[in-house]
Symmetry: C2
């Protein structure tokens, strides 16, 4: 770069072009006054697609979806501390999904910070707990180098959301220069000795079980897992997976139950639990009289690499060490009959099995009906299923938006509950604006369904009118067709299994955002 | 209380009944599994009205509105770290408004925290920066006493949001007992010597100016301020006020300009600036070549008590010390003619002046059109105007919800921009469910109007297509009538000044939630 070019670059320009140099191609943004120079810098950077989000939680949920679909971090553009807070729940989810994400948080000019203006807050304090890396580019000279560092940190051994604070004066002042193109490390591999030792333990166990996650639930990992199950090792996956390859032709590990007592019972049949690409399983919530550690007494555990490791590689080498080649079977694709009976997550899964195209990306938000749909799509055409790994509902629609921006040639399907969908309905507007190819299915039961179950399970007593009211969304019932159309996404409402099947077939045939309001019975 | 009663009380019950004993009458809630015992405790507490909110930012915005309308803190019920994050932007706003608020944040059981389950996060770290008080009730024995302490802290000299963490096991375990009824302190008064000294300085100044906020912009404060202006001291108020009494018969201090360069120019005419119930004025944002300190060189400043003081009392005593009784004038109510011309915040303010009933509570969200409406409602029937004091847009609708719960006999009017309104539209659903008496006016200009101005003011360069796109909400245009009706709030759309005037008159005559989608030209 010529010296005069260097001199004319602002901090905002240096950040944007450094991220573009490193391969960032999308920015999900909700800007404010302190980010105006970032907005105009993005204006001049054709390599980055800027997507306006009307709420910051949409921006970060979309960045998570973008990363899950592409492996590449997106940047977000957030407005000071409150912008970070609005974005925060889906940053929590992204951290739990280990999704790389570069949150660029605009801040007051350095000289303005001490004046305690209305939008001043302790951004570092707020963003610290859920940021895998956090720095502030307080001078234009630091901006480019810190953008490279932020990119690198988001893709480290502990990938996830990072925070780069950019004070307005560092953004608007010239004298910045671009940071280097960096090479994030590949995932660490488990040492040979560990593989050999574990293989021996598995051979001498009476009833061994393997629990997998990470790249272990991608295509190569599942091929190896199938060989291990063929060798008599029962293979489970974690309950919640950032992205699982599944469907016809693909080995399906058993998914560990969500409810703690059920998971413990499932694991009681075994004497050795080996984990690969994950940790020893724990309960999602605590309950009176139920242990948090899901491993039953008497089951020995061995770790074959945590979340940071390349578990697909681990499983392949383990299968090789065990010398097995007889893989467990996988379902074949057979078009199921039109489902019948009450409309539910189960029958919706059957319709998805009938109509979902090959290579679809499913974003599912952890609702009861979403879990039911998972159960009846195991033999659908091969697809990827992305789940809520952080437990904060309201991610399903934004995740689908971001995945569709990352993978414009794939059909994206969002499955969300009506409770979850109401956290970030503004995602629909960005879907309409960007005309992404997303079919949204909202399971409408006018209730926080899971909480009605949890109320009993936690032993909180018999619900009276107030308690029932706090778990019900039926008064008034939300009209999701109107809600969706108000933001520019065409929508239909269905109340029967047959009507859903027809609506899904028709909707999937259209390229562009659509919503089906599915009035389910459970 | 009998010993057997004590023994049978859970931590959740102790918190809820302690807060009720202290006068808390409302809980704005978005519960999850870890809060089930709080939900059933609320079920058994008839003194607290529980309001379900579909998004946590609605709950905290409503609690802020409740406190501004009543002076009493509401409790909120939030689900772990992500629930706090979703609630966080309106907690920031409440902190800046000095609104008391008791955020009860459910946490994992103490024994479950160390297992790093998916919803685990550093709640204390996340909530710390914006909590005026933060403690965790880790045992049932602590719950009642900490609830009293939290109530007290929310109403301290530095009133605002406090955070009480409640692990699920402390919530569900018996052995708790209620905490005491406490008496929060009254606001400190400024010492007599300070009043006398300032009176002298004002008497010897050539062109003195007073900047007021806090109780100084309530009815008694304004009466004293009128006497001071009558004595030749120009009276300004801060730009953003948590709650201002205004309208016919009430002295109106001049509102300090939002734009820094304008405020500096306004203050240049004076030689002495006295502040009461506020701090020396600073710019909202930093701009290149504009100072952050709005006090021009050569203007001497004197503080007559910060935000914590009872500024109405300060002003009354200052007026007495100056020996003045000739109050500045106040507008009289004269019903204006039907406004004409383009529909804008100005003409909407004129219609409000025609139709707004006495004692209305206005929640206004800081949009350009909201400011215009403020300017043309100075002679409306007496009312209270509540502003966005923290700068995080998206508070207007939730604040109105909470104010209406606190003051069921008063008409509440929410004035919000379409950009701001899209942050927390879920407030409309709670308005419909609770059938609160709120008229919502959404200024629709399909744009982040202020950002189009700020883009030029920050010198960020000429906007190209991407920059323009990032500040525009017109593609697609949001249909606010559909959006509102989807959540159960009847709505109409108007495009002319005459149609708005008629719609407003008709809407205000109805008790219950309504929305007017006002397509403004600016």
């Amino acid at each position: 770069m010529a010296d005069d070019q260097k001199a004319s670059m602002t901090g905002a320009q240096a950040i944007v072009s450094t991220l573009a140099d490193n391969g960032v191609t999308a920015c999900f943004a909700n800007p404010g006054t302190s980010e105006m120079h970032l907005v105009t810098a993005l204006d001049n950077e054709p390599r980055i697609r800027s997507v306006l989000c009307l709420f910051e939680g949409v921006a970060t949920g979309a960045a998570d979806g973008f990363a899950r679909a592409s492996g590449i971090p997106a940047m977000t553009l957030l407005h000071l501390g409150p912008g970070y807070l609005n974005a925060g729940a889906n940053i929590h989810n992204a951290k739990r999904a280990r999704s790389p994400m570069i949150n660029v948080i605009g801040d007051h000019a350095v000289h303005h910070r001490g004046y305690d203006a209305p939008l001043t807050s302790d951004i570092k304090g707020l963003a610290g707990p859920n940021s895998n890396w956090l720095k502030s580019a307080d001078t234009p000279q630091e901006t480019g180098a810190l953008a490279s560092e932020a990119f690198m940190a988001s893709l480290s051994d502990d990938p996830g959301p990072v925070s780069l604070l950019l004070p307005a004066d560092a953004a608007w002042t010239e004298g910045a220069e671009k940071g280097p193109v960096v090479s994030p490390p590949s995932r660490p591999k488990v040492p040979d000795a560990e593989i050999a030792k574990t293989a021996k333990a598995l051979e001498s166990a009476d009833a061994p079980v393997l629990l997998i996650n990470g790249s272990g639930v991608g295509e190569a990992g599942l091929q190896a897992a199938a060989r291990l199950e063929g060798a008599g090792i029962k293979v489970f996956s974690d309950t919640f997976l950032h992205r699982q390859r599944r469907g016809a032709g693909l080995f399906a590990p058993q998914r560990l139950q969500y409810f703690a007592e059920g998971a413990i019972e499932e694991l009681q049949a075994f004497d050795l639990l080996v984990t690969a690409g994950t940790l020893s399983p724990v309960a999602f919530f605590a309950y009176p009289n139920t242990p948090s550690d899901l491993v039953p007494d008497g089951v020995k555990t061995l770790s074959l690499g945590g979340r940071e490791t390349d578990s697909a590689d681990t499983l392949a080498r383990l299968a090789q060490a065990l010398g097995t080649n007889a893989a467990a079977g996988a379902p074949e694709y057979v078009m199921p009959d039109m489902p019948t009976g009450d409309l539910s997550g189960f029958t919706i899964g059957q319709s998805l099995t009938r109509h979902m195209p090959e290579n679809a990306l499913v974003s599912e938000d952890g609702s009861i009906n979403g879990t039911m749909s998972y159960m009846t799509t195991g033999a659908a055409r091969p697809h990827d299923w992305m789940m809520l790994t952080g437990g904060s509902i309201g991610q399903g629609l934004p995740l689908a938006l971001g995945a569709a921006i990352a993978a414009p040639d794939r059909k994206v399907i969002a499955l969300t509950g009506d409770g979850a969908g109401m956290y970030t309905p503004q995602a629909l507007w960005s879907m309409a604006r960007e005309q992404v190819d997303v079919t949204c299915v909202v399971f409408i039961n006018n209730s926080y369904g899971i909480l009605n179950i949890e109320l009993a399970r936690t032993g909180a007593g018999n619900p009276g009118p107030t308690a029932k009211n706090m778990l019900s969304m039926g008064d008034p019932a939300i009209d999701w067709v109107q809600l969706s159309q108000s933001m520019g996404v065409p929508a239909v409402s269905v109340e029967t299994t047959e009507a859903f099947d027809k609506a899904l077939e028709e909707t999937l045939a259209i390229k562009g955002p659509r919503l089906i309001a599915a009035h389910v019975t459970s």
